[in-house]
């Protein structure tokens, strides 16, 4: 009996140790930031193709502005809303650098594989083959699985968001290559592959903005700024 209690206690301890990481997105700021990044990136890559007034260095400048806006926006939310309501946390940097490096390497590997796959399909199976949309669909599915594992597993309603992401990935694999090429303004295998990837970014950005927005509103409704009494 005592042993069972201790096992439960240790399970709770292990779960507690995960809570600070989940706390980072308690206000939905993480999802909002990623959503803005995805949508901003798509817009910045789309403008040079369709807007004749857009200067090519505008992409670089726009990208820098986007990163700055996201960085300072998240900082402002944390400083003025989250910390006064539910407290301040400073994360351990060492672990995060390694995790970031590993995640970056995995994403890099995946993009590299996607490019190889696209190039291969261009030479072997022809331009209109479904394989050109596979990197985008695969990226979407992996992202949806990661979202479900990390975020939706702790907040039940976010399973709906994970499901929407998964459906979006399947839809991406079904979109006619011609439609994607028309959107990209170019007629090549790479245009199809990257066009599908950008569409995925746009849809996921929208889903993340909705999810982050709902989280933010719920957070504001369920928390109050703490009183300024002695601790």
């Amino acid at each position: 009996m005592q042993e069972h209690e201790e096992v439960t206690k240790m399970d709770q301890v292990e779960r507690l140790m995960q809570r600070p990481i989940l706390y980072d997105n308690i206000d939905g700021a993480g999802e909002l930031a990623l959503g803005f990044f995805f949508l901003g990136y798509t817009l910045l890559r789309w403008l040079p193709i369709h807007a004749i007034w857009w200067h090519r260095y505008g992409v670089l400048l726009g990208f820098l502005l986007l990163i700055a806006a996201i960085h300072y926006g998240v900082k402002a939310i944390k400083t003025h809303i989250t910390y006064p309501r539910t407290g301040f946390v400073e994360y351990r940097k060492r672990g995060y650098v390694w995790k970031g490096a590993i995640a970056g390497a995995v994403v890099g590997l995946f993009i590299g594989l996607g490019i190889v796959l696209v190039a291969h399909s261009h030479w072997v199976v022809g331009r209109s083959h479904w394989v050109l949309r596979m990197p985008a669909a695969l990226f979407g599915l992996i992202f949806a699985a990661g979202y479900a594992y990390k975020i939706a597993s702790t907040v039940r309603w976010k399973w709906a968001m994970a499901a929407a992401m998964a459906i979006c990935s399947f839809e991406m694999a079904m979109i006619p290559a011609g439609a994607i090429r028309a959107m990209m303004g170019r007629n090549s295998a790479f245009a199809t592959a990257f066009g599908a990837l950008r569409l995925t970014f746009a849809f996921y950005g929208l889903i993340l903005l909705i999810s982050g927005g709902i989280s933010f509103v719920l957070y504001l409704r369920h928390t109050q700024p703490a009183s300024e009494t002695a601790e």
Partner: protein, 98 residues
């Protein structure tokens, strides 16, 4: 007394208390956190949390820094190297005992 029971008996009593175990587990995952965050996560009232923190500070497991966030007083808490070592040892002993 069997081996498992002996292992459980050898556990660090300062950390083994449920309230303090929660605090140490939370602080072990971060560089530092403030009083409000611990209160939010543990759902303890200010008095209870303060008394647990005092006990942990007495054992030199945590470091308490009083500061200000703007004009608002803020109490920052961080696990000391000793505290991290004690918690790691506690987890190891618990795993061995279970």
């Amino acid at each position: 007394m069997n081996l498992k029971t002996r292992k459980l008996a050898e556990l660090d009593r300062v950390i083994h208390e449920p309230g303090r175990l929660m605090i140490v587990a939370l602080l072990s995952a971060v560089e530092q956190a403030d009083f409000l965050y611990l209160q939010h996560e543990t759902e303890m009232n200010k008095g209870t949390l303060s008394s647990h923190l005092s006990r942990l500070e007495e054992a030199k497991y945590i470091e308490v820094t009083k500061t200000y966030r703007g004009k608002i007083p803020q109490t920052l808490l961080r696990l000391t190297a000793e505290g991290r070592q004690a918690f790691a040892q506690y987890r190891r002993r618990m795993k061995e005992a279970l």
